[in-house]
Symmetry: C3
Subunit: 246 residues, 3 copies
């Protein structure tokens, strides 16, 4: 299951049933666990001094699509799924079931929880902290430099169940609290309260998330979104959500 | 004209004078028509359950530049031209003479007319509908989720001759009507009337497009742009435009 | 040091100690100077009629990371460093020590000074002019078309020491003067005075850069940034800066 054109270091620690596609490169300081599949034209475990010798670890049953680049020195839980042309730098530490969309760029030195979903072309600056069940939509940037171009780094913090809509930026050191929604095309310069909607540039309070109605004419609140939208989450996770909400 | 390093399925339906570059992969469920050229490091006809068995069809005399990825299940008219690292997902249906710029990401399940031009790094969400002679500039996103992260999808509609300038987003279900101009860095939450300019976040009416003057000192209106700017369109198309406008 | 899978034209002018990675392609009209390293899956010196026969010249001790594409007809000084998947079109003329981040797209026909740093996913439109020691942050676009989609091109001008923060756009013909700071998520439609901060969409004057304080509690001005932040610039450059500022 390793394509004959793939260039794989004999020192890499690769489980038996791993698939590696054509023209991909796997460097030596890499651990690929069982059931993982790497697409074509990837470079996995790119050597870097900044990794300080740590390996790249990819959990079981993961799928890394073509043209992606992972540096050594990061660690992913089981069932990572990526789009194409993803870049992941050193010292990214992510939980299980992470999805990273096409063209996304994880700058490393960051912490990501379980079941997080980055859509296409998301940019996660260094020192970001991201909780569980967070959604980040296309062209969102988490920044970290309060007075560019400085050497100070203040990451953004995104708490559980928060959603950041398309083409928004989170400014350095800002916390978006549990269940909050950042509207599209916003620039968030202050902390966002739990279960509130903010929007604009600079982003201002718009309403409680519960005021946003479903577009199905039912009149029901669209949020907390986990009440309605289960988008492939496992049944036990959803059951627990509904229990917690009731 | 198929490079010796290209990996081409014997089941793919490839016309005689097709060119396929080094290190590219062509899967089996693909129809490449006469005169088409595929650059290096591409993956063409990427298999996907969501394609429901439909092939990828690329019209005659097309040019797909390097590092691009096309899924199976989409259909393009003649003379498609792409930049580098383009991604096109399943069930995209496009007319003739489409141009897709470098890094653009067409999410599939969308309809695109003739002579449409996407500049670099454009993101077309699922269920978008795009007319003829539309221009979409860099870092524009057509969104589709009215209450993210939901399972509801309301695509944007962009009518003939409309132009969407750099780093704007079109919110779910919004229609940008014929000949309208969305100014750069806008967030469009309501339908845009034909031949009007909108801008800002949220975008507001600025003026009729006819009020925008050419920068050549002539005092003439810059719009409808097809009066002045013919940027490689064929003569018969331009002649028809001018007849329709007079 | 040329990988056995690399495809290198015998006509390319390649210094002895140049490294070329796996699955990369080097075309004939290319000059790679001593000490330069090209990563995997690159395409270097992509042929183009628009280059009018000029070669691609890469200065000494440069590093071009994987999946990057450089057209023929551009010229770079010594010590160019790029991220991954960079695209550089024809007739780009850049000084020494340029850094170009991952996914950045330099459209060509532009001039770039010494020690310029583009972060990830920067888009430099044709006819842009960029001075020395300029910083441009992720998802910034320098535009050039005053009435899209026209054939008029008015590039942006970014002077020495200016910094353009994340997800801002500079509109056609605008000059950002020496030492100015464009805040994140801005749309800049008018010239920006030297050593001032502008922000918003459209961007407005906020304050002198000297009013922005360091986040270290010292109460000192963060700008001019070259007083504090030396981020890898050579000692003689920094010494000269400090002398000029005192």
């Amino acid at each position: 299951m390793i394509h004959e054109t793939a260039i794989v270091s004999p020192l890499a620690d690769i489980a038996d049933n791993v698939t590696i596609g054509p023209y991909s490169i796997v460097h030596e300081n890499v651990i690929l666990k069982a059931g993982t599949s790497i697409g074509s034209h990837c470079e996995i475990g790119f050597p870097s001094r900044l990794a300080e010798g740590r390996p790249l670890i990819i959990g079981t049953d993961s799928l890394i699509r073509s043209h992606s680049i992972f540096y050594e020195g990061s660690e992913f839980g089981d069932r990572l799924v990526t789009g194409h042309r993803v870049t992941v730098r050193e010292k990214t530490k992510a939980g299980e079931n992470l999805q990273i969309g096409t063209l996304s760029d994880i700058q490393g030195h960051c912490t990501i929880g379980d079941y997080v979903r980055f859509h296409s072309n998301v940019h996660i600056g260094q020192h970001s902290t991201i909780g569980n069940f967070v959604w980040i939509f296309p062209y969102v940037v988490l920044t970290n430099d309060p007075h560019p171009p400085s050497e100070t780094m203040l990451g953004a913090n995104i708490e559980d169940f928060a959603a950041i809509a398309t083409m928004s930026i989170i400014l350095p050191g800002v916390t978006v609290k549990t269940g909050a929604l950042v509207a599209a095309h916003s620039s968030v310069s202050r902390d966002v309260d739990a279960d509130t909607v903010v929007g604009g540039s600079p982003a201002k309070y718009i309403c409680e998330t519960s005021k946003v109605k479903l577009k199905d004419g039912s009149g029901a609140s669209a949020y907390p979104w986990r009440k309605h939208f289960h988008r492939g989450y496992p049944e036990d996770v959803v059951t627990q959500w509904l229990k917690d909400l009731s």
